[in-house]
């Protein structure tokens, strides 16, 4: 039996030679978990298409972490669980004062922020300690894919919801700041208070509350809606005035909530005022200038759509989205450093692995001393505090469900039992439980995480061994993305394919494929992958060309056989996408001739068809023959038509514009029709670009010269203000550039070069960058010294 062998030692049974088919069962039991090829693939950051880690964040973390086994991959999946915000949700990028003195917040959608990262360096966050609105620096804005999003229903006033004002749509694992700390949306219970931006209400409905219900509004803003004695919060909740009544004193200090029973008891003086004031304390809401504690009314599924997340630089790991305070995508751990960075640094020996007490070593060894899994909590509770399995499970439930009451109960038990076991001192038990409490924000079930890691490994294994088949199938399903994201997804996949040496070619009518398909180790676009051509139109074209001899067919024959039976817009798209380039005529010439052809009547097309000889590859010759035909039944219907045809012929003889296909035009239309430029780049026709001595792929792969000259198109610019050093206050920029070989992300323009070339360094501009490669820690960057407009 013939076998296909890889350098990593993996072998597959060959079923068929041409085209190659091998026996491969994508199941973990049939897969080697120590395949060097697969791990290298994951470590290189080419994670597009790999389960759970294909997002920008996953790519970045995989590159940083360099996982070497399933344990690492499992930890990566566990610590990388960003919640995300829907693309339309508005984030606050600044505040300003209007001419009339009122203060206002400047908002933009998170999608716009993602697209214009360079324009916005700061976002407004809340200082969790003081409740102040503070400027906070953005580290990165990430696109995290298509996920189900929910509309969060919030009200910040008594008995009226302000759905229009609080417009947060996010995934249900995104964290919001509740009165009990950060909680994932799915864990927040209806009625819980969450921190939202204060709204100056103007609607009629809201104004009415300022009448007889005014004191209820005050009470709602200052206290949680619970009876101060029995936690009753289900309707019939009364607002009590400690002294006087609604006409005399509506100050917050004079108000509290009572259930009907306790209200009666208070009226009958069975409860004293001091008792109420003391009991009221735990329901008191902290008051802030710009924020208010809104009531969570529930969530409503909206749709599966594009979602984004923001990484803030700190110290405030939050931002304001849809007028609600939400957590950013990195979790904070025992100190300012995130758990992700702790784990990565410890795994890569940048940070020493330390255990708070030696007894923790066997439990946390597999995760380099980091608390990542819920199972680790069970082990800690069992081994260090002598919990029984049932008690430990109770602690796991408290952590999993994030229930504060249950946690308080567990804490007490943990301290008592730890003291009895005697491994930990009281202080150590306190600290360890604090760890557990803090880490409940991100702790993940290990069995869940391991199964994710296995699936992730399987996709990586498939990609590493059969990249062409993998990418073809992945490209095929890119069409399922939303219309706006489809092209981005295709572009990303094509660039990813190119970066691993796979040739992706444009559509070709001769191949007769409706969808993406693999032919001779090359991926071909299908006809339905051309924008504006649906599956039906693609099938019609394929049916019309089924019996065509592509080696002999001429352009006029193709026009007659296919063009006249295809929707005109679809046929134009077919030409523009380069699907019939094999006919040997420029796309512009074909478009020009097709437009003249469309002006012919059915009878004239029949006359033209009769004269097709296969010797002439231009419509001009056949129109000349057509004009010579007599007027009448057997010829042209009238002299007016003859004049018209003469006009068409004149256009072909003297085209009003050049019919040459410039590379800029081709790359433009291909990007519009296919989502990515395939056969030409904007730089192809540029003579100055030929002076370049390096390309994006060369730079990405580390191959470069002393002085790099890179001809490229600027894809993205991010401007930053320098905060320290001699250039403090000056601007510099980070750029992402692309050429025909791919994308290079690490371009740095320091202040001198930035200020001198500001007018040339614009997105989408074609430039020649001159500079040197410098290495900083693990990344290499091109430091731009000179910029030339080309």
């Amino acid at each position: 039996m013939e076998k296909l062998r890889f350098d990593c030692g993996c072998e597959f049974e060959v079923i068929q030679q041409n085209p190659l088919k091998v026996k491969y069962i994508p199941k973990i039991v049939h897969t080697q978990l120590n395949c060097e090829r697969t791990w290298k693939f994951i470590q290189s950051g080419q994670t597009k298409g790999m389960f759970q880690i294909e997002s920008q964040l996953g790519k970045m973390l995989a590159k940083k972490l360099k996982p070497e086994n399933i344990e690492h991959l499992s930890a990566l999946v566990a610590i990388m669980r960003p919640g995300c915000v829907c693309k339309d949700t508005k984030v606050i990028v600044g505040n300003y004062t209007r001419k009339n003195g009122t203060k206002n917040l400047k908002k933009i959608s998170i999608e716009k922020l993602y697209k214009n990262k360079h324009l916005y360096t700061n976002l407004l966050s809340v200082d969790e300690q003081t409740g102040q609105l503070v400027e906070n620096k953005i580290k990165d804005v990430l696109y995290t894919g298509i996920k189900p999003v929910y509309k969060v229903k919030i009200r910040s006033i008594y008995r009226h919801d302000n759905n229009d004002f609080y417009d947060l749509r996010c995934t249900d694992d995104h964290k919001l700041l509740t009165i009990h700390g950060w909680k994932e949306l799915k864990d927040i219970v209806v009625g819980e208070r969450i921190l939202v931006v204060k709204h100056h209400h103007t609607s009629k409905a809201v104004k009415s509350t300022k009448g007889k219900h005014y004191f209820k509004e005050i009470a709602f803003k200052h206290y949680q809606e619970h009876c101060v004695f029995c936690d009753w919060n289900k309707g019939s909740l009364d607002v009590n005035h400690l002294e006087g009544n609604r006409q005399t004193n509506n100050e917050p200090e004079n108000l509290n909530y009572f259930c009907p029973n306790h209200h009666r008891e208070y009226s009958e003086n069975a409860i004293s005022k001091a008792e109420v004031i003391e009991a009221r304390q735990k329901f008191k809401l902290p008051q802030y200038e710009n924020f208010i504690w809104g009531e969570y009314l529930g969530k409503e599924y909206v749709e599966d759509t594009d979602v984004y997340d923001i990484m803030m630089e700190g110290p405030h790991h939050n931002f304001i989205a849809g007028n609600t305070v939400v957590h950013n995508c990195m979790e904070s751990f025992e100190d300012e450093k995130s758990i992700t960075n702790h784990y990565i640094d410890r795994k890569n020996n940048i940070e020493p692995v330390k255990y708070y007490v030696p007894a923790l070593e066997p439990i946390l060894k597999s995760t380099y001393g980091c608390l990542i899994y819920q199972e680790q909590i069970l082990a800690i509770a069992k081994q260090l505090a002598g919990f029984t399995l049932q008690e430990a499970d109770e602690l796991r439930r408290a952590v999993g469900k994030k229930k504060p009451e249950l946690m308080a109960k567990c804490k007490k038990m943990f301290k008592e039992k730890a003291k009895a076991v005697g491994i930990l001192t009281e202080e150590q038990a306190d600290t360890i439980f604090d760890w557990i409490e803090k880490s409940q924000r991100y702790l993940f079930n290990k069995s869940h995480s391991i199964s994710y890691a296995y699936t992730c490994y399987l996709t990586a294994y498939s990609k590493a061994h059969f990249p062409r088949a993998f990418m073809t199938s992945y490209l095929r399903y890119a069409k399922d993305k939303t219309a706006t994201k489809k092209n981005d997804e295709i572009k990303e996949l094509v660039n990813d394919s190119r970066s691993i040496g796979i040739v992706v070619k444009g559509p070709d009518v001769r191949r007769g494929n409706v969808h993406f398909k693999l032919f001779d180790k090359e991926i071909y676009f299908g006809l339905s992958n051309i924008s504006g051509i649906g599956e039906k139109a693609a099938e019609t074209i394929i049916n019309n060309t089924k019996n065509m001899n592509f080696e002999k067919v001429t352009w006029p024959e193709f026009l007659v056989q296919v063009g006249q039976f295809t929707n005109s817009k679809a046929f134009e798209n077919l030409i523009e996408a380069g699907a019939i380039d094999f006919l040997g005529i420029s796309r512009n010439q074909m478009l020009l001739e097709y437009k003249q052809f469309c002006d012919l009547t059915e009878k004239e097309v029949t006359l033209l068809t009769g004269g097709l000889s296969g010797d002439h590859n231009s419509l001009e010759y056949y129109l000349e023959q057509l004009v010579k035909k007599p007027t009448g039944r057997a010829g042209i219907s009238s002299e007016a038509r003859r004049t018209k045809i003469k006009g068409l012929l004149d256009i072909l003889k003297h085209p009003p514009h050049s019919t040459r296909d410039t590379s800029e035009w081709i790359s433009g239309v291909e990007e519009a029709k296919l989502g990515v430029n395939i056969s030409a780049s904007r730089l192809d026709d540029n003579h100055s670009a030929k002076c370049a001595n390096s390309s994006c792929v060369e730079l990405s792969n580390g191959g470069h010269r002393d002085y790099v000259l890179l001809a490229c198109v600027i894809k993205n610019i991010r401007e930053n203000t320098i905060k320290r050093g001699p250039s403090e206050g000056r601007k510099m920029a980070f750029m992402k550039v692309e050429d025909e070989t791919g994308i290079y992300e690490n371009v740095v323009v320091f202040s001198d070069a930035w200020e001198a070339n500001r007018s040339v360094l614009i997105e989408k501009n074609t430039v020649m960058l001159g500079g040197e490669i410098k290495r900083n820690k693990e990344t290499e960057s091109l430091i731009v010294q000179q910029v030339f407009q080309i």
């Binding site: 006009g647 007018s759 407009q789």
Partner: protein, 220 residues
């Protein structure tokens, strides 16, 4: 950001009259300028002869005698030859849609063509003449995104701004400007040569603006 990425379309009509409401274009030419490099885009020349709609009317010659004489003089041929040339030209609708196709090839974003991605119109006296014809024809043939909806460059206005306090050029018509710039008169009043000369003037003006703008202290 005010940096322009839209291509600049320098265009010019030759018409059979001077009333923009009724005159028929007999020739249309255009070239595109790359806004970053400030040079005429290679292969971007557009030129088309157009058949006036009313040329078959009996009184067309008499009513348009002056214009025909002007064109005959420029082309160095007889009145009949001019009439025959016009008669055999491309119908207006076909010519205008060809021009629209040509302009659509030069949008900044080919994937999403809007009135903001369209080329910026430029030419001599386009404000008062050519743009009015463009608007009329766009309405007639239902073309929406031919040119940028806001920006345009009229070299006549620019000439006034730059030369209003100088003895030269003596007039603001394009012949005087051409002479002032030291350009040859060869091919003058053929639409394509006119647009090339005008494009050259636009490029000079933009270069000048860019150099001066960075040196001016705009703040108070």
């Amino acid at each position: 950001m005010a940096i322009n990425l839209n291509k600049i379309c320098v265009f010019d009509f030759e018409t059979d009259g001077i009333d923009t409401k009724v005159c028929a274009p007999v020739q249309l030419a255009a070239v595109m300028i790359d806004p970053r490099k400030l040079e005429i885009i290679d292969g971007s020349e557009f030129s088309i002869h157009i058949r006036p709609c009313e040329i078959d009317n009996i009184d067309y010659y008499t009513s348009h005698r002056d214009t025909i004489e002007f064109h005959a003089k420029v082309a160095g041929c007889s009145h009949d030859e001019i009439m025959n040339k016009w008669k055999n030209s491309i119908p207006l609708e076909k010519a205008w849609t060809s021009f629209a196709d040509y302009c659509s090839n030069y949008h900044t974003n080919p994937a999403r063509k809007t009135k903001y991605t369209a080329p910026i119109p430029a030419g001599h006296n386009i404000d008062d003449f050519d743009m009015k014809i463009v608007e009329r024809l766009n309405e007639q043939f239902k073309i929406k995104t031919l040119f940028h909806c806001r920006d345009k460059i009229d070299t006549l206005t620019q000439s006034f701004i730059w030369f209003e306090n100088q003895l030269e050029p003596a007039k603001y018509n394009f012949d005087a400007i051409r002479e002032f710039l030291g350009k040859s008169k060869a091919g003058a009043h053929t639409a394509l040569q006119d647009v090339k000369d005008c494009a050259d003037f636009v490029i000079r003006l933009l270069n000048l603006h860019r150099k001066v703008a960075t040196k001016v202290k705009w703040k108070s």
